[in-house]
């Protein structure tokens, strides 16, 4: 299986970009809305002054002896003083005749009632705002219509707008900057439960298939539910296959024992050498099959017990000596001596059955590979960490395969002519790991292999 996950995009980046992009859009919108609004307010400020100016002039128009007189109030222009010294234009019309002022000032046509019409226009190359109002005067002879327009350039307004734009720009930028901070905070907070889940799953032991118990956010619940159910199914399926193997091994072993005893009995009765040869080969094959079945059973048991360790104080020396006693007859068949080295007792908290199993597999392994008339040494060392070393005088491990030998069903290159299942080292390693230890394989300088079961 390919280990690399197919990664496309990043939740964190997407979240951060969405938040920051949103903040930028809102900041921009804020800028334009506030600026437009401010422009309207500033314009209405100028408009109201222009209106007041027009009104004050219109109020000063009188008819005397049939002539229109305008006593232009000083305040009409005085009120139009601005910071930017805006230019002021005006025009007074009687019907279609210019009374005074700027003849070419663009003028809207206002209603008679005195309502003021405001327009933006251009005069003498400058943008101006023009306020115009009209009034009907009734003299001795006739009615006459007087129109008053006052215009002002928009320099001060532009200045105000620039100032406002600058300030709003600053506020918008500040808002955006804060939003970026909030976005990164929000992103981290949102991603954190996901990271926590990842972490807690990564940290699990290889056999831990229990459901995730930590509380997770609502949005992650479906994922975790699926994960839990997936793990549960995996667990069940693993257990089923282990059970199946154990069951199968168990069922195979008993008939094998029967077949073996029949073969042995037949061997006693048969005289022809080639028949005896065939029967001996048969017995050896049956032995090997039965041992493999035994190891499969061991492995299944270990897999099961590793999850539910039944620990108790165990004296490693006693355990080793007990095992040696039981295996000595087998060893003697090959003229192999089993030696135990120890310095007093070494008591550890451990599952005795598992340890025994592991050790037996290691010693059986050694018995299988060492030449006849050699020695296998089992040394129990209590400090600094309790460990048992199994040393032999065999050919040693092939150096380039030492890493993989403890894997299931893996056998060394030099073991081709030896019968075996490849489960021995795996069982020992699983037991060591279940106890929080490890199994290390080394070759000794003077020759021979050394397996260390570290607890």
């Amino acid at each position: 299986m390919d280990d690399a996950v197919n990664v496309a995009g990043s939740l964190r980046a997407r979240l951060a970009l969405t938040l920051i992009g949103g903040a930028a859009a809102i900041a921009l919108l804020l800028f334009f809305v506030v600026r437009t609004y401010a422009a309207q307010i500033a314009q209405s400020g100028q408009d109201s002054i222009l209106e007041a100016s027009v009104t004050s002039i219109l109020d000063a128009v009188t008819v005397r002896d049939g002539d229109v007189e305008v006593d232009l109030p000083y305040v009409a222009f005085s009120m139009l003083s601005t910071e930017a010294d805006d230019r002021v234009f005006y025009a007074l019309w009687q019907d279609e005749t210019l009374l005074s002022g700027y003849e070419f000032l663009p003028v809207a046509d206002p209603p008679d009632g005195g309502d003021i019409v405001l327009v933006s226009a251009t005069f003498d190359g400058a943008p101006v705002r023009v306020a115009t109002a009209a009034r009907i005067l009734v003299g001795a002879n006739a009615r006459t219509r007087v129109t008053v327009s006052v215009a002002q350039t928009q320099d001060a307004l532009a200045g105000t707008l620039n100032k406002i734009s600058r300030n709003v720009g600053l506020i918008g930028s500040g808002f955006f900057f804060l939003s970026v901070l909030v976005a990164s905070w929000a992103t981290n907070t949102t991603i954190r439960p996901l990271e926590r889940l990842t972490h807690s799953i990564t940290r699990r032991g290889p056999k831990d298939l229990t459901p995730v118990a930590r509380p997770v956010p609502m949005e992650m619940a479906p994922l975790v539910t699926s994960l839990n159910s997936f793990m549960a199914r995996l667990d069940t399926s693993l257990k089923q296959s282990e059970d199946f193997i154990a069951e199968a091994a168990h069922r195979v072993r008993t008939p094998l024992a029967t077949v073996r005893s029949h073969a042995e009995a037949t061997l006693q009765r048969v005289d022809r050498e080639d028949n005896r040869q065939a029967l001996r080969a048969m017995v050896r094959a049956i032995d090997e099959s039965s041992r493999a079945a035994g190891q499969l059973l061991d492995h299944a048991m270990i897999t099961f017990r590793a999850d539910h360790l039944e620990t108790q104080p165990v004296d490693l020396v006693e355990l080793v000596e007990d095992l040696v006693t039981r295996l000595t007859p087998v060893a003697e068949m090959k003229d192999i001596a089993l030696t135990v080295i120890s310095a007093g007792e070494a008591v550890v908290e451990a599952d005795a059955i598992l340890l025994q199993n592991a050790l037996r597999n290691l010693v059986e392994n050694a018995l299988k590979y060492v030449p006849e008339e050699s020695e296998i040494t089992l040394e129990v060392i209590a400090t600094p960490r309790p460990r048992i070393e199994v040393r032999d005088e065999g050919p040693g491990f092939p150096p380039d395969q030492m890493q993989d030998l403890a894997a299931r069903f893996s056998r060394g290159e030099n073991a081709k002519d030896t019968i075996g299942s490849g489960l021995g080292l795996t069982i020992a390693k699983d037991v060591a790991m279940a106890h929080g230890g490890d199994l290390t394989l080394t070759n000794m300088p003077e020759g021979g292999a050394c397996v260390t079961l570290l607890l």
């Binding site: 007189e69 006593d71 009409a76 222009f77 005085s78 230019r87």
Partner: protein, 335 residues
């Protein structure tokens, strides 16, 4: 015959552009690359030191200096703006209206306070109060009137002495006189009573401060109203004869202003001249060398407020308003 026609053709433009100047002078080398044409209402003698100071720094420039009345300046310049590069006048209202109507250029790199400039185009460079100038012969020492009210009272008390011997600007002719009169009229009703009294004494009307001072010195005038005190102070021969009174009831103070013509072809030099003018008049200076009064703060220690540079100055320039004002003024002064 051909010669006569040629002469006529040659003379025609001269006749067409003929303009009677009060004074006309050229300064600087005739070979200069650039000639600045300055249109001004300020007497040449008061301006010579500033011009010479400028020409020292700019030997490549020569200056033609034309002097005429404030009202004339407005007419001449409006008719032919391209003929002049810098316009200087004491009639603030006419100057402001010229700038408002787009006859000026902005001058960069000239930082003046808001009250002393308008649109970064029109720059004030003197502060000069309108004064009452009296001939010491007409009043006993210590009895010199200090306010308009006191002047009215003094004239009413001794009409025989003052009849035909009081003078003021003819506001119909003088732009500055019109500015002073309108600002006075805005400030107080006293102005109208003073005008009526002066009218009753057959007041003599003048085009300019210089002429009034001449008549005061000659003894033909006992009192002149709204004379530029700076012109009196600049004349050394009058200290014994004349006394300058700053009316203490309300002052009317104007600022001389300058701007660069929008039609100038030598913008750099014209702007440099205006900058130089303002720098001389606002910086530390020797009053013996530069006789024009400096530009002082908008409100000085005696509480003198200066006529402010604002669009409202255009109010009295409105033809209708002007017609009404001249009518009232005439009925008071010319009885």
């Amino acid at each position: 015959m051909r010669y006569i026609i040629a002469l006529m053709i040659w003379l025609c433009p001269l006749v067409a552009t003929a303009q009677e100047w009060e004074d006309q002078n050229a300064f600087g080398p005739a070979s200069a690359d650039t000639t600045l044409r300055v249109l001004s209402s300020t007497d040449t003698s008061l301006f010579v030191p500033i011009i010479e100071d400028f020409l020292q720094e700019r030997p490549d420039v020569s200056i033609e200096y034309f002097v005429t009345g404030t009202a004339q300046i407005d007419q001449v310049f409006r008719a032919a703006a391209e003929d002049f590069d810098v316009v200087i006048s004491s009639a603030m209202d006419l100057q402001l209206k010229l700038v408002n109507d787009g006859f000026s250029l902005k001058v960069e790199n000239l930082d003046q306070p808001q009250w002393a400039q308008w649109r970064q185009s029109l720059f004030a460079f003197t502060t000069e109060p309108a004064t009452i100038v009296i001939n010491r012969g007409a009043f006993a020492p210590g009895a010199v009137p200090q306010t308009r009210q006191e002047l009215i009272a003094a004239m009413r008390a001794r009409p025989a002495i003052f009849r035909g011997r009081v003078g003021t600007y003819d506001v119909r002719e003088s732009g500055l006189g019109y500015l002073f009169a309108t600002q006075d009229a805005r400030a107080s009703e006293t102005f109208w009573r003073l005008m009526e009294v002066m009218g009753g004494l057959d007041a003599r009307l003048y085009c300019c401060s210089g002429a009034m001072i001449d008549d005061l010195v000659a003894g033909e005038l006992m009192v002149a109203y709204n004379v530029l005190g700076s012109y009196v102070a600049a004349r050394e021969d009058v200290a014994d004869t004349l006394e300058i009174v700053l009316p203490s009831d309300f002052p009317t103070t104007m600022m001389r202003t300058a701007f660069v013509s929008s039609r100038t072809e030598v913008e750099q030099e014209a702007a440099a001249f205006v900058r130089h003018l303002v720098e001389v008049q606002t910086g530390p200076r020797n009053p013996d060398v530069f006789p024009l009064p400096p530009l002082s703060a908008a409100v000085d220690e005696t509480g003198q407020a200066v006529i402010s540079l604002e669009p409202a100055l255009m109010t009295y320039l409105d033809p209708l308003k002007r017609k009404t004002f001249i009518k009232e003024w005439s009925s008071a002064v010319i009885q």
